[in-house]
């Protein structure tokens, strides 16, 4: 399990690094899917198999396909890719990257203040269902309203 966790973590970080440095959107999407699959494996090793399944079905399945459809509808060609290549110069990305490093260092410091171990338990789909329709039923209703608002908004925006 430990090997699986650290291997998937390395794959996730590398794939995400490739996502934010690609010039071709479809390549970036494919690397993002690799990153999401690696994170799903991490969820599984952390004892959250239901979340792992949802990560693949909803994120890698639905959301990435939505991105892919939009990329197909936009029909961006070689021109956009060359433009991206021209934009992605070190002078552009080096400033934000250097400024992001202190934030990462601060977060690492905060995380390392107290050393904790993970629990050994697996929390499966049944517990999640009981909690979702028990104490969290209001959150489920609100999420459904949010999704309905997203549906209506997307329909309105995409209409000719």
């Amino acid at each position: 399990m430990s090997v699986l966790f650290y291997g998937s973590a390395i794959i996730a970080v590398l794939a995400t690094l490739l996502v934010i440095t690609r010039t071709n959107i479809v390549h970036a999407l494919l690397y993002f899917i690799v990153s999401l699959l690696a994170i799903a494996v991490i969820f599984y090793t952390l004892g959250a198999p239901f979340a792992a399944a949802l990560e693949i079905i909803v994120y890698a399945g639905a959301i990435m396909v939505m991105f892919l459809f939009v990329v197909m509808m936009l029909n961006l060609g070689q021109v956009t890719q060359d433009q991206e290549k021209a934009w992605l110069t070190p002078s552009v990305w080096i400033g934000p990257s250097i400024m992001a490093v202190p934030l990462l260092v601060a977060v690492i410091y905060a995380i390392n203040l107290n050393q904790e171990q993970m629990a050994h338990t697996v929390v499966g789909g049944k517990e999640i269902g009981v909690a979702l329709f028990g104490p969290y039923v209001l959150a489920v209703e609100l999420a459904s309203m949010l999704l309905l608002a997203g549906l209506v908004g997307a329909y309105h925006l995409a209409r000719k």
């Binding site: 966790f5 959107i25 993002f32 952390l46 949802l54 934009w87 934000p96 949010l146």
Partner: protein
Amino acid sequence: MEMPTVTMQVIPMEHGLLLAAILFIMGMVGVLTRRNLVFILMSLEIMLNATGLAFIVASSHWGQVDGQIMFLMILSLAAAEVAVALGLVLQLFQKRKTLDINVLGEMKG
């Protein structure tokens, strides 16, 4: 608890949180450096996903279900956000024939 307790090799909690922090920072750098609207949305997805990972790690640490519920909420939020944002991207591209946010930023309200 109904589920069988699987004995796993224990992974320190801070390693999971560390991974979430690294992914989040990478998504943030992506938002700051890219000028293509679709890439910015993808970086936002990376950041949301890293937040969800942090919640799952916390859920695993406490052995409780609440973190996974929050992950589900983040998932539905990401789905709704992407649907609306990609609709906007399509509209803006039809009007301006570009995804450069410097050009799209000249809308003036």
